[in-house]
Symmetry: C2
Subunit: 631 residues, 2 copies
């Protein structure tokens, strides 16, 4: 099962133009400073001074403060990761100073034994490791570790990595099966994948071993969270009404290898199974990989919004029953789709299958990108697929600011998710204009995605060798044409990848043309919310109707199945998009007060315009819908 594929690192790939360069620049120039100011204003940064007076916020009684949030450190860490990744390829003195200042505060806050968490050190000094179930303690540690890994890779400075390793070493001592160790794991998975990243950077096996312990221990009986609650004398029932069972909320209801349905909090599930896949690959553990694949299958076949969103319910920020995918009250948290992206990327290293890249792309271009406004300063936490105008972007989800910095770190790290390598072979999963520099070959990519399906890949090498270049064929492609050095080619393909094996020389060139037909999408019958409805897609983009283009009461529109739509390049609209135009039937408003009548509503034909879903809610409040009635 070991395939040997591994991602070409973030710092070996540059994004030099096109769609994602614009986003990366916006996030570097606008978003990071905006987020920093918001976190400064809320008190995240001062909190690291470990002075209760610095913790601002509103009291909720019982010693709980929204201001003194248990996960503030994690948001700072995600921001550090995002800023590090940005500074890896850009220069910005203000950002760098802000970054160093925060790192210095983490250094000062760290206890002599290596422990660091501003919430516990300030508000709950005696509660350390006493409530792994609820308090996100190891989750915060995980984000600190991830930030440290990227900061070190990006800057070469050991400052944050030293803090993180001291903390990680403390965790290695504290957690495990030994007689003086705690046999616990975190209610919110994150530490697991972070420890694998730290292991990969440092080659220190105890980090991988601890991560593996956390994964293997999860859901074993007696359940650690029961023991922990008893030790705290806590007799409150935990989430008694959670679908399935209480601990399904955090995927701790049964051992990982016994799980076959994805349950509970969506971000937790995705972070957990990302780590599960990592460990399966690092330790050649087929049973773990099978568990990850089962969970993947369940997500994709029964719980995935067409936008790449997952986790339909706000109650548990997560999964419910199969096919329960409401549109207007979809939760579809930005972080959950980021987690799905991460999970798919892990699985992609286990085997090349275009399905993984298709889902990464779907999540990235739709649900994830929907999470940030075109101004770079406003955000969605949840990403519904329909709205009556109440859903607005906000500058900062202060009550739980996980998504904005998560989104920033993902987009700034995007270059690390595009390409994999295995010995001499190279697999390009995502076509993004830029350059990848491997040991002995350089690939230049020019791509029109997401609005055009034309891509050119040019090879430069001083050391021509026989190698396979694997190129993902997107699931959305219509007619596909491929040229090798200008001559039409018919490469073999496997699992949705074109495989070009040859001795590559400088100047070798592949041109790909993936036609982008406008696709009408229909959900399977079991999805109540989408029955009798149609969604429009083109390339990786899901489209939606907005009131500003189509008038109010969007649900009066009916798209006949046979009607054609056409793409329209709209350079001035929404920072430049391709819209879709076509005709629909519109039910006319009722003529009188009757609730019921003997005739169907009269209709007229109207022209409608659909925009990419990610760009909605950037022109004021109004209705939006992805799924339009059809007949």
């Amino acid at each position: 099962m070991e395939t040997g594929w591994s991602p070409v690192p973030r710092n070996r790939v540059t994004i030099q133009g096109g769609f994602w360069r614009k986003w990366r620049d916006l996030i570097g120039n606008v978003t990071l400073m905006h987020q920093l100011e918001e976190m400064r204003g809320e008190g995240h940064i001062d909190a690291l001074e470990l002075d209760q007076r610095m913790h601002r916020g509103r009291s909720l009684g019982d010693g709980w403060y929204w201001g003194a949030s248990i996960f503030w450190d994690s948001d700072l860490a995600k921001w550090l990761e995002a800023a590090s990744a940005y500074l890896e390829q850009n220069k910005d003195d203000r950002l760098e100073q802000a970054m160093d200042d925060i790192i210095a505060r983490f250094e000062r806050a760290q206890a002599p034994d290596g422990y660091v968490n501003s919430h516990f050190l300030t508000w709950r000094p005696r509660h350390r490791f006493k409530n792994l179930r609820d308090l996100h303690e190891l989750y915060c540690a995980g984000h600190l570790i991830e930030a440290a890994v990227v900061h070190y890779e990006a800057t070469g400075k050991p400052s944050l990595l030293t803090v993180a390793r001291r903390f990680a070493d403390l965790l290695v001592k504290r957690f495990g099966p030994g007689p003086n160790q705690t046999p616990g794991y975190c209610g919110h998975p994150e530490i697991e994948l972070a420890l694998v990243r730290l292991y990969r950077l440092t080659n220190e096996p105890s980090y991988l071993e601890l991560s593996r312990f956390f994964v293997n221990q999860r859901g074993q009986e007696p359940n650690f969270f029961d023991l922990e609650a008893a030790a705290r004398l806590d007799s409150e029932p935990f989430r008694p009404n959670h679908p399935g069972s209480p601990y399904a909320y955090m995927q701790a209801h049964q051992p990982i290898r016994d799980q076959s349905k994805v349950v509970g909090h969506a971000v937790r599930a995705m972070y957990l199974f990302s780590a599960v896949t990592d460990i399966a690959l690092e330790t050649t553990d087929a049973s773990l990989l099978q568990a990850a694949e089962r969970i993947w299958r369940d997500v994709i076949d029964t719980k995935l919004y067409i936008t790449g969103g997952i986790g339909s319910a706000s109650e548990n920020e997560g999964f419910t029953r199969d096919y329960d995918l409401p549109n207007e009250r979809a939760y579809a948290e930005t972080c959950a789709s980021i987690g799905l992206f991460l999970f798919a990327h892990r699985l992609l290293q286990s085997r090349l299958s275009s399905e993984f890249g298709d889902v990464m792309e779907l999540a990235l271009y739709n649900c994830i990108l929907s999470g940030i406004g075109l101004d770079g300063k406003t955000f969605f936490y949840d990403n519904p697929l329909a709205s009556h105008g109440q859903h607005r972007r906000i500058p900062w989800p202060w009550w739980c600011p996980c998504c904005p910095p998560n989104l920033a770190r993902l987009i700034n790290s995007l270059s690390g998710y595009l390409i994999s390598a295995r010995a001499e072979d190279i697999a390009i999963h995502h076509y993004v204009t830029g350059e990848a520099t491997l040991d002995n070959v350089r690939l230049q990519v020019e791509s029109g995605l997401p609005f055009s399906g034309e891509t050119r890949i040019t090879v430069t090498t001083d050391d021509p060798r026989e190698r396979t270049l694997a190129l993902r064929v997107p699931g959305w492609a219509g007619q596909i044409t491929v040229w090798l050095n200008g001559a039409e080619a018919r490469p073999e393909s496997s699992d949705g990848y074109f495989l070009f094996r040859r001795t590559w020389q400088t100047g070798d060139r592949i041109d790909l043309r993936f036609d982008m037909p406008i696709r009408k999408k229909f959900a399977r019958f079991e999805v109540d919310a989408d029955r009798g409805r149609m969604a429009l897609m083109r390339g990786p983009l899901v489209y939606c109707l907005e009131q500003v283009d189509n008038g109010p009461q969007l649900d009066r529109l009916i798209i006949p199945v046979e009607k054609d739509f056409r793409p329209v390049e709209s350079e001035q609209l929404l920072n430049g998009v391709v819209t879709l135009r076509g005709h629909a039937i519109q039910e006319k408003p009722p003529e009188n007060q009757s609730l019921y009548r003997d005739q169907p509503p009269s209709t007229e034909t109207v022209e409608i315009t659909a925009i990419p879903y990610y760009a909605w809610a950037n022109r004021g409040a109004g209705e939006m819908q992805i799924w339009t009635r059809s007949r």
Copy 2:
């Protein structure tokens, strides 16, 4: 505004055959004894002995027992009313003995001052009139009074009437605006309409005056329920999340004359506005009648299910926002539709308009009759318009058994709702096979309703006079043909009534043929739940699809607007019904696991059978739906 119309009393009209005779016989022969046994088993009857040990039931803590229900007496009273109305025209010694036994217990339970309520006398002797808001005390009194009126009318025995009048006299002393009186009213309206009935029987004006006081006092500031709660030292907020405002739950949020939208608990609203209309008519109060008409308009235009059900939400057993009419989770309590029937019947005495009769008929033949199984021994409390098979009839809704005896008393009293008279004029609202005997004329009616729209009315009189016979033209009628003594007639009509003015002689005969086309009904756009859907009706009957006839996954069916259906007489089915047969398109099941696909589902044409809604859930568990997708 005083129109002078009043109902021809129940005991002047007999139901001699056809659809309603079968139901009346079933209820007399089966339902009444079944209900008696259920109430005996639960403890309703023994509770009247005022011995706590006789109150059986389950403790809910805090001194609350489901068994010792606060409204048990009212269910006994409704049963007494139903039994009295049955015995008015039938003989049954067992029933009569049971009735007399219960009445004797009420007599023994009555306190020297006239107070009678088994719950308060047993469980809360010191709480008398201390919590009018929640405890249904005057509601129970109201049902006792209604039962007493009917019992006296039916049997001539003074026993129960004496009990009721002594209690009513106590209430007259206790409640009112005077210095030693309580300026309160009941959280659950019912006493108001009961007092009007008692006034009409006894001509004692203090009963009408008290009812009028209750109505006028309702919703005045300071709100009595606030004062009452303060006097109890009760600081718990009352229904803080009720739509609109807390006291909107019981229509006490503002004075009656200021109310223009129907709000809150549906049964309460209907009983209240029935009384409001009664009082408006008795006291010639135009502003009260206008309030009643406004509320009527709001119900009919924005909150009425196609079945005649009202009150869509279980949370408040009542109304929510305009057009909020979900199907599967419809509450649509049987009692609420009975209340709507009563309210419409009151308004009908204020002016002849076929709309009132149409709604009475709609409620009666659909939502109300749905509340009882064809076996006469099983019931629905709530009447959803769609089901995945979980909704089953039950022998007794023990936690709140209001609907079954309410349904029995309505159907046994049906003859009192069919015809009105004004001086010499007669208005027939509902065509039911039977005979009406007025002072100087007898009308015989033969009708095929609800399955055929043919009716014959024959006159017998010893005293030929000029009078108007007003005959309601149902809103569902297609082509209408009328014959007077065999010759086609073209009577004038007004507000949906044919007006025949002539000197009627014995042997005069009117034949009516109201064609019953199968009507496809469409809800207005604002009703989310029915958008893109169609319901089938024929005559007054709403039809539904059941799984037993049409297979599972009924929502795979799509009825093309242009498809015709045909009526099929099915004598052997469901005690004899007319079914509707026709063709629909059925989406085929998906061929693979994909959640989304590029093609609409493939379809096939299938024959489908619809049955009258009232008769559903009599052939085992299965899916049902009224609103079918259409295109």
